[in-house]
Amino acid sequence: MSDRQKHIPVLLPTPDRRQCEMALDELVARNVDGISLALLAYRDGHPYLFRGKELQNAGKLAAMASSMAALSGTMLREIDSDSGEMTLLQGKKGKIIIVQVPAANNLMLLAVHTTEEVNLGLLLAHTKSCVTKVAASFGAAQAGQP
Protein backbone atom coordinates (compact mmCIF):
# COMPACT_ATOMS: atom_id res chain seq x y z
CA MET A 1 0.00 0.00 0.00
CA SER A 2 1.81 3.07 -1.19
CA ASP A 3 1.75 6.32 0.75
CA ARG A 4 1.43 8.08 -2.54
CA GLN A 5 -2.08 6.69 -2.88
CA LYS A 6 -4.75 8.91 -1.50
CA HIS A 7 -6.08 7.77 1.81
CA ILE A 8 -9.44 6.16 1.26
CA PRO A 9 -11.03 4.96 4.47
CA VAL A 10 -12.53 1.56 3.96
CA LEU A 11 -15.98 0.93 5.43
CA LEU A 12 -15.31 3.31 8.26
CA PRO A 13 -17.54 5.93 9.82
CA THR A 14 -16.58 9.45 8.84
CA PRO A 15 -16.97 12.64 10.79
CA ASP A 16 -18.75 15.67 9.39
CA ARG A 17 -15.88 17.59 7.80
CA ARG A 18 -17.55 20.97 8.11
CA GLN A 19 -18.14 20.54 11.82
CA CYS A 20 -14.57 19.38 12.32
CA GLU A 21 -13.28 22.43 10.50
CA MET A 22 -15.36 24.66 12.72
CA ALA A 23 -14.13 22.94 15.87
CA LEU A 24 -10.48 23.30 14.83
CA ASP A 25 -10.96 26.88 13.67
CA GLU A 26 -12.44 27.77 17.00
CA LEU A 27 -9.51 26.21 18.84
CA VAL A 28 -6.76 27.76 16.77
CA ALA A 29 -8.04 30.97 15.32
CA ARG A 30 -10.48 32.36 17.81
CA ASN A 31 -10.19 30.94 21.22
CA VAL A 32 -6.77 30.81 22.72
CA ASP A 33 -3.64 32.82 22.11
CA GLY A 34 -0.68 30.54 21.85
CA ILE A 35 -2.36 27.52 20.27
CA SER A 36 -0.42 27.43 17.06
CA LEU A 37 -1.59 24.26 15.45
CA ALA A 38 -4.32 21.65 15.57
CA LEU A 39 -4.20 18.49 13.51
CA LEU A 40 -6.81 15.81 13.16
CA ALA A 41 -5.42 12.48 11.98
CA TYR A 42 -6.45 8.85 11.61
CA ARG A 43 -5.09 6.51 14.26
CA ASP A 44 -2.76 4.90 11.69
CA GLY A 45 -1.14 8.18 10.81
CA HIS A 46 -3.02 9.56 7.81
CA PRO A 47 -3.73 13.28 8.11
CA TYR A 48 -7.37 14.39 7.91
CA LEU A 49 -7.44 18.11 8.61
CA PHE A 50 -5.22 20.74 10.10
CA ARG A 51 -5.44 24.36 11.10
CA GLY A 52 -2.91 26.92 12.14
CA LYS A 53 0.74 27.43 11.45
CA GLU A 54 1.79 26.55 7.90
CA LEU A 55 2.97 22.98 7.92
CA GLN A 56 5.56 21.74 5.49
CA ASN A 57 4.53 18.20 6.07
CA ALA A 58 1.23 17.52 7.78
CA GLY A 59 1.58 13.87 6.77
CA LYS A 60 4.74 13.45 8.80
CA LEU A 61 3.21 15.11 11.83
CA ALA A 62 0.11 12.92 11.56
CA ALA A 63 2.32 9.83 11.44
CA MET A 64 4.33 11.08 14.43
CA ALA A 65 1.15 11.73 16.41
CA SER A 66 -0.04 8.19 15.79
CA SER A 67 3.36 6.74 16.78
CA MET A 68 3.48 8.74 20.00
CA ALA A 69 -0.10 7.86 20.91
CA ALA A 70 0.53 4.18 20.23
CA LEU A 71 3.72 4.16 22.30
CA SER A 72 1.97 5.89 25.21
CA GLY A 73 -0.83 3.33 25.06
CA THR A 74 1.68 0.48 24.93
CA MET A 75 3.49 1.79 27.98
CA LEU A 76 0.28 2.29 29.95
CA ARG A 77 -0.85 -1.22 29.08
CA GLU A 78 2.50 -2.64 30.16
CA ILE A 79 2.16 -1.22 33.64
CA ASP A 80 -1.51 -1.34 34.40
CA SER A 81 -3.42 -2.87 31.48
CA ASP A 82 -4.68 0.65 30.96
CA SER A 83 -5.13 2.20 27.54
CA GLY A 84 -3.87 5.43 26.10
CA GLU A 85 -6.16 8.41 26.06
CA MET A 86 -3.85 11.39 26.08
CA THR A 87 -0.17 12.04 25.50
CA LEU A 88 1.48 15.20 26.72
CA LEU A 89 4.87 16.43 25.54
CA GLN A 90 6.46 19.34 27.34
CA GLY A 91 9.24 21.13 25.52
CA LYS A 92 11.18 24.26 26.41
CA LYS A 93 9.32 26.32 23.85
CA GLY A 94 5.90 24.77 24.09
CA LYS A 95 3.69 21.76 24.55
CA ILE A 96 2.10 19.14 22.36
CA ILE A 97 -0.97 17.26 23.46
CA ILE A 98 -2.34 14.27 21.57
CA VAL A 99 -5.83 13.09 22.46
CA GLN A 100 -8.00 10.27 21.19
CA VAL A 101 -11.30 11.30 19.68
CA PRO A 102 -13.80 9.16 21.61
CA ALA A 103 -15.90 8.08 18.66
CA ALA A 104 -15.93 5.32 16.06
CA ASN A 105 -13.56 3.08 18.04
CA ASN A 106 -11.03 5.82 18.45
CA LEU A 107 -10.61 6.19 14.72
CA MET A 108 -9.02 9.61 15.08
CA LEU A 109 -6.52 11.62 17.09
CA LEU A 110 -6.26 15.31 17.71
CA ALA A 111 -2.80 16.82 18.13
CA VAL A 112 -2.48 20.38 19.43
CA HIS A 113 0.63 22.49 19.73
CA THR A 114 0.98 25.54 21.97
CA THR A 115 3.70 28.04 22.68
CA GLU A 116 5.14 28.18 26.20
CA GLU A 117 2.84 30.81 27.63
CA VAL A 118 -0.29 28.67 27.42
CA ASN A 119 -1.13 27.11 30.73
CA LEU A 120 -1.75 23.40 30.89
CA GLY A 121 -5.23 23.57 32.35
CA LEU A 122 -6.37 25.90 29.64
CA LEU A 123 -4.85 23.72 26.96
CA LEU A 124 -6.57 20.63 28.36
CA ALA A 125 -9.94 22.34 28.64
CA HIS A 126 -9.90 23.71 25.10
CA THR A 127 -8.57 20.50 23.61
CA LYS A 128 -11.21 18.47 25.37
CA SER A 129 -13.95 20.75 24.15
CA CYS A 130 -12.68 20.51 20.57
CA VAL A 131 -12.45 16.73 20.75
CA THR A 132 -16.01 16.53 22.05
CA LYS A 133 -17.24 18.50 19.05
CA VAL A 134 -15.30 16.33 16.64
CA ALA A 135 -16.67 13.20 18.30
CA ALA A 136 -20.22 14.55 18.13
CA SER A 137 -19.77 15.18 14.42
CA PHE A 138 -19.65 11.43 13.82
CA GLY A 139 -23.34 11.46 14.71
CA ALA A 140 -24.91 10.17 17.89
CA ALA A 141 -25.38 6.69 16.43
CA GLN A 142 -21.67 6.24 15.91
CA ALA A 143 -20.31 7.90 19.01
CA GLY A 144 -18.10 5.58 21.02
CA GLN A 145 -17.14 5.75 24.65
CA PRO A 146 -18.06 8.84 26.69
Binding site: M1, S2, D3, Q5, H7, I8, P9, V10, L11, L12, Y42, R43, D44, G45, H46, G59, K60, A62, A63, M64, S66, S67, M68, A70, L71, G73, T74, E78, N105, L107
Partner: protein, 180 residues
Protein backbone atom coordinates in the same frame (compact mmCIF):
# COMPACT_ATOMS: atom_id res chain seq x y z
CA UNK B 1 21.75 -4.11 36.27
CA UNK B 2 24.46 -5.96 34.32
CA UNK B 3 25.36 -4.67 30.97
CA UNK B 4 25.67 -7.65 28.68
CA UNK B 5 26.52 -7.44 25.03
CA UNK B 6 23.53 -6.69 22.86
CA UNK B 7 23.13 -6.52 19.09
CA UNK B 8 20.44 -4.49 17.41
CA UNK B 9 18.66 -5.73 14.31
CA UNK B 10 15.99 -3.81 12.50
CA UNK B 11 13.33 -5.21 10.17
CA UNK B 12 12.07 -3.12 7.28
CA UNK B 13 9.83 -3.90 4.31
CA UNK B 14 6.52 -3.03 2.70
CA UNK B 15 3.34 -2.96 4.82
CA UNK B 16 2.18 -6.51 5.46
CA UNK B 17 5.46 -8.13 4.44
CA UNK B 18 5.74 -9.82 7.85
CA UNK B 19 8.01 -7.70 10.06
CA UNK B 20 5.84 -7.97 13.17
CA UNK B 21 5.28 -11.68 12.47
CA UNK B 22 9.05 -12.27 12.35
CA UNK B 23 9.65 -10.66 15.68
CA UNK B 24 6.71 -12.42 17.27
CA UNK B 25 8.10 -15.75 16.02
CA UNK B 26 11.51 -15.46 17.67
CA UNK B 27 11.23 -13.14 20.65
CA UNK B 28 11.90 -14.65 24.10
CA UNK B 29 9.94 -11.88 25.76
CA UNK B 30 6.36 -10.79 25.07
CA UNK B 31 6.66 -8.49 22.07
CA UNK B 32 6.14 -4.81 22.64
CA UNK B 33 3.66 -3.97 19.95
CA UNK B 34 2.28 -0.71 18.65
CA UNK B 35 -0.18 -1.99 16.08
CA UNK B 36 -3.48 -0.19 15.52
CA UNK B 37 -6.43 -1.19 13.37
CA UNK B 38 -5.87 -0.15 9.73
CA UNK B 39 -8.02 2.63 8.28
CA UNK B 40 -6.95 2.24 4.65
CA UNK B 41 -6.82 -0.36 1.90
CA UNK B 42 -4.32 -2.42 3.90
CA UNK B 43 -7.37 -3.57 5.89
CA UNK B 44 -8.21 -5.89 3.00
CA UNK B 45 -4.99 -7.83 3.72
CA UNK B 46 -4.82 -7.69 7.51
CA UNK B 47 -6.46 -6.04 10.48
CA UNK B 48 -3.66 -4.07 12.10
CA UNK B 49 -0.56 -2.16 11.15
CA UNK B 50 2.49 -1.05 13.14
CA UNK B 51 2.60 2.71 13.73
CA UNK B 52 5.68 3.05 15.96
CA UNK B 53 7.65 -0.15 16.38
CA UNK B 54 7.74 -3.76 17.46
CA UNK B 55 10.32 -4.73 20.04
CA UNK B 56 11.47 -8.21 20.93
CA UNK B 57 14.56 -9.87 22.38
CA UNK B 58 16.29 -13.13 21.72
CA UNK B 59 18.99 -14.71 23.85
CA UNK B 60 22.15 -15.75 22.05
CA UNK B 61 23.62 -17.60 25.04
CA UNK B 62 26.51 -16.36 27.21
CA UNK B 63 24.32 -13.47 28.25
CA UNK B 64 24.43 -11.96 24.78
CA UNK B 65 21.15 -10.74 23.46
CA UNK B 66 19.70 -9.76 20.13
CA UNK B 67 17.39 -6.76 20.25
CA UNK B 68 14.81 -6.90 17.50
CA UNK B 69 13.07 -3.83 16.17
CA UNK B 70 10.31 -3.93 13.58
CA UNK B 71 9.47 -0.67 11.89
CA UNK B 72 6.26 0.46 10.22
CA UNK B 73 6.15 -0.30 6.51
CA UNK B 74 4.72 2.97 5.21
CA UNK B 75 7.08 5.73 4.15
CA UNK B 76 5.20 8.29 6.27
CA UNK B 77 6.85 6.62 9.29
CA UNK B 78 10.43 6.88 8.04
CA UNK B 79 11.37 9.02 11.05
CA UNK B 80 11.05 5.92 13.24
CA UNK B 81 14.23 4.56 11.66
CA UNK B 82 16.22 7.36 13.26
CA UNK B 83 15.02 6.32 16.70
CA UNK B 84 16.67 2.90 16.32
CA UNK B 85 19.53 3.67 13.93
CA UNK B 86 22.39 3.95 16.40
CA UNK B 87 24.76 0.98 16.62
CA UNK B 88 22.77 -1.27 14.34
CA UNK B 89 24.25 -4.73 13.81
CA UNK B 90 22.17 -5.27 10.72
CA UNK B 91 19.11 -4.59 8.63
CA UNK B 92 16.70 -7.27 7.48
CA UNK B 93 14.59 -6.35 4.47
CA UNK B 94 11.47 -8.45 3.97
CA UNK B 95 9.97 -8.89 0.53
CA UNK B 96 6.42 -10.20 0.30
CA UNK B 97 6.32 -12.69 -2.61
CA UNK B 98 2.54 -13.00 -2.32
CA UNK B 99 1.87 -9.30 -2.87
CA UNK B 100 0.58 -8.12 -6.24
CA UNK B 101 3.82 -6.26 -6.91
CA UNK B 102 6.66 -7.46 -4.66
CA UNK B 103 9.31 -5.47 -6.51
CA UNK B 104 7.36 -2.24 -6.20
CA UNK B 105 7.19 -2.77 -2.46
CA UNK B 106 10.95 -3.33 -2.45
CA UNK B 107 11.64 -0.26 -4.57
CA UNK B 108 9.50 1.89 -2.30
CA UNK B 109 11.28 0.61 0.81
CA UNK B 110 14.67 1.23 -0.81
CA UNK B 111 13.66 4.75 -1.78
CA UNK B 112 12.34 5.36 1.71
CA UNK B 113 15.59 4.32 3.39
CA UNK B 114 18.00 5.50 0.70
CA UNK B 115 21.21 6.69 2.32
CA UNK B 116 20.32 5.05 5.63
CA UNK B 117 20.91 1.36 5.07
CA UNK B 118 23.99 1.23 2.79
CA UNK B 119 26.49 1.15 5.60
CA UNK B 120 24.99 -1.65 7.69
CA UNK B 121 25.15 -5.41 7.05
CA UNK B 122 22.06 -6.22 5.09
CA UNK B 123 20.01 -9.35 4.33
CA UNK B 124 17.04 -9.49 1.95
CA UNK B 125 14.50 -12.16 2.88
CA UNK B 126 11.73 -13.18 0.49
CA UNK B 127 8.69 -14.18 2.53
CA UNK B 128 5.26 -15.78 1.89
CA UNK B 129 6.53 -17.86 -0.99
CA UNK B 130 4.35 -20.22 -2.96
CA UNK B 131 5.94 -22.19 -5.77
CA UNK B 132 9.13 -21.32 -7.54
CA UNK B 133 10.68 -17.95 -6.81
CA UNK B 134 13.99 -18.22 -8.68
CA UNK B 135 12.96 -15.44 -11.03
CA UNK B 136 11.82 -13.16 -8.20
CA UNK B 137 15.01 -13.85 -6.31
CA UNK B 138 17.09 -12.82 -9.31
CA UNK B 139 14.97 -9.67 -9.76
CA UNK B 140 15.39 -8.78 -6.10
CA UNK B 141 19.18 -9.23 -6.34
CA UNK B 142 19.23 -7.11 -9.49
CA UNK B 143 17.14 -4.37 -7.82
CA UNK B 144 19.47 -4.30 -4.84
CA UNK B 145 22.53 -4.05 -7.11
CA UNK B 146 20.92 -1.16 -8.91
CA UNK B 147 20.57 0.61 -5.56
CA UNK B 148 24.20 -0.13 -4.75
CA UNK B 149 23.37 -2.63 -2.02
CA UNK B 150 25.25 -5.87 -1.54
CA UNK B 151 23.84 -8.66 0.58
CA UNK B 152 22.45 -12.17 0.47
CA UNK B 153 18.93 -12.77 -0.87
CA UNK B 154 17.25 -15.71 0.81
CA UNK B 155 13.80 -17.30 0.95
CA UNK B 156 12.16 -17.63 4.36
CA UNK B 157 8.96 -18.32 6.20
CA UNK B 158 8.82 -15.48 8.70
CA UNK B 159 6.77 -17.58 11.08
CA UNK B 160 9.53 -20.15 11.58
CA UNK B 161 12.23 -19.76 14.21
CA UNK B 162 14.78 -21.74 12.16
CA UNK B 163 14.42 -19.35 9.26
CA UNK B 164 14.95 -16.39 11.51
CA UNK B 165 18.05 -18.06 12.93
CA UNK B 166 19.40 -18.33 9.38
CA UNK B 167 18.77 -14.62 8.82
CA UNK B 168 20.69 -13.73 11.97
CA UNK B 169 23.62 -16.01 11.01
CA UNK B 170 23.82 -14.29 7.65
CA UNK B 171 23.74 -10.82 9.17
CA UNK B 172 26.66 -11.71 11.44
CA UNK B 173 28.54 -13.33 8.55
CA UNK B 174 28.08 -10.18 6.49
CA UNK B 175 29.35 -8.09 9.39
CA UNK B 176 32.42 -10.30 9.72
CA UNK B 177 33.34 -10.34 6.07
CA UNK B 178 32.29 -6.91 4.93
CA UNK B 179 34.96 -4.29 4.48
CA UNK B 180 32.64 -1.42 5.30
Amino acid sequence: MDRKITYKLVFIGAPGSGKSTCIGAVSDIPVVSTDVACTDGLASIKETTTVALDYGEMSLGDGERLLLYGLPGQSRFTFMFDTVAENLAGVVMLIDASSAAPLEGLEETLRTYAGRIGETPFVAAINKVQGNVDALREQVAETLRRHGLVGPVIVVDARRREDMALIFDLVFLCAEYSDV
